[in-house]
Symmetry: C2
Subunit: 378 residues, 2 copies
Amino acid sequence: MNSDSVGIVTPQCAEFDQPLTLACGRVLPRYQLMYETYGELNAQASNAVLICHALSGHHHAAGYHSDEDRKPGWWEACIGPGKPIDTNRFFVVSLNNLGGCHGSTGPASINPETGEPWGPDFPPLRVRDWVHSQARLADRLGIHTWAAVIGGSLGGMQAMRWALEYPDRVRHCVVIASAMRLSAQNIAFNEIARQAIQSDPDYAEGHYLKADKVPARGLSLARMVGHITYLSDNAMASKFGRDLRTGSLELGDEDQAEFQVQSYLRYQGSRFSGSFDANTYILMTRALDWFDLAREYGDDPVAAFRHARCSFLVISFSTDWRFSPHRSREIVDALIAADRPVSYAEIEADEGHDAFLMPIPRYLDTFAAWMRRVGEHR
Amino acid sequence: MNSDSVGIVTPQCAEFDQPLTLACGRVLPRYQLMYETYGELNAQASNAVLICHALSGHHHAAGYHSDEDRKPGWWEACIGPGKPIDTNRFFVVSLNNLGGCHGSTGPASINPETGEPWGPDFPPLRVRDWVHSQARLADRLGIHTWAAVIGGSLGGMQAMRWALEYPDRVRHCVVIASAMRLSAQNIAFNEIARQAIQSDPDYAEGHYLKADKVPARGLSLARMVGHITYLSDNAMASKFGRDLRTGSLELGDEDQAEFQVQSYLRYQGSRFSGSFDANTYILMTRALDWFDLAREYGDDPVAAFRHARCSFLVISFSTDWRFSPHRSREIVDALIAADRPVSYAEIEADEGHDAFLMPIPRYLDTFAAWMRRVGEHR
């Protein structure tokens, strides 16, 4: 364990008994949220930072769950003592979103009305539902105003929605590798992922838990599709090229040949399908598809951002083709037109969309420099 | 029917009884190839053009099969009287490749040794096997030397292989939206397509025909994945944007919302799965993965192209991300270094990889201008 890690952390669970009215109009009578915190909340409760996770993320963003734990949290690169989200200065809150499958109430939880898992009957969620449930968690923790709300990808969408829904509860907003809404191509990839899951016979119309099944093939395929979109063409080329794991491409030996990239994807798919809930995956991709920052502001992102009162940092990565720099520049342009304070960094990186999780020096330095200002303001 | 169409055409079938030794070392005792021809072969048999098809193509490249036929062949944009591949001047031969599922011998054909469909036991094919079987078709038709061998995508790989395997039988070679070998990302997409098919329980380990099943869900998914890679992000944006087919994105109405792009992909997938053989799809994608123009020339494309004696036209499309202009420039660079005559056109087009099938004026004009020289040279 490195000295710049938050070390051993213990997840906590917050139970909420007041009903939550969702954007779809349905009401969740009660729910729980799993979360972790890193660092100390100061006396004024002014140093709290919220981490919003991406599609397949969860509350375990930094540190380790035990001494034996081999892998740290998913954003270990950015959260810890002396890191951009510096736990010597900030009280960091990271949760598993509602609808998730890592301890927060979601499709795999028991529906109190039926005594069975919710499955596909779990209410559809919008990004704003996450924001509202996160606001209740903030209340519970005694945090009125976040020093910063931070997220990458789908997490960046939550951060932007926070700035519009609770303008007086967010001082800084960090939006990394994100977009104001999905493109048709983004939606198309999500659709394939959902089709892969839903056409797996073991999906059982979503009631696989009741049927004691797991749509492992479909979920694995969905993850494989996702993985391609997280990596850049360059990253795949330098990581795998056309290297073979087995066999050769000599004539006559082709049937034994397997490319490294094939076995990598299969491994990723199969590992994921053993640990993630298929209905959660569908729910999260649909929330992504439906997110449209400016829809209710007359489709005008400038009008939307005029509601924000925080400072923004927007970061994109040169080879990210899932949410390309162009999509980040749209955010920046709208913020400038709305006369909001915004800094923008476009980081040269070979890693595609995944770059936002990586310890890329220029990214970390830029992010850290900006975060140092977060403590100084107000 | 337009006057620039070849009109009504009738597919023909050529039976080959001499065994064909394949690159994998196995021998196909006999086989048949479905083909069509457009235009007239001249007395010197010097005006013949071979069309090589792409992944899901077939022999029906131009014209109509009947007066009731609503859709012309797949390359109607480029083949016909006065078109780039001008049937007033050329005798055009278009076939369904070995391993195909449109009448040529392939996995869905009966294995004479067992009396059952070959299924997954059909021998694996390399691009060179297609070239060799096409050479036999040329012999049968009395064509020693092709005025041009032409192909897009996987077809361009066949055209390049022709130039190396039979240098004295090709005068001109047209390589459109192609590459000398697949990238890791290209292979990854093919792997997902294969996984989708093979993980469909109705695939039955490849023996679905014997089991009287069709792995329709898997094949449909495979096609959906392919479709995304054929279209550019821009093309999808202008074709579909975020338009809805049903429902609305108003809060509370999300469950009814379906994006146009979702229903388009599903339609494409389902249509394809009703008309294409799953084992053929696997076979073709594997041939794509394995293709590596320069492998046996010490991995040196310049050394490879030194074996060619023809003139080359290479065409790419600005928004093609399956085989980007960069991949075409690699071909051009190698040809220049090998001192082969080459023309290169990079066409501005919004349609992505699919552009090679489209009637894009600058593309057609460039292609036609170059083809006019084909008759003049020898």
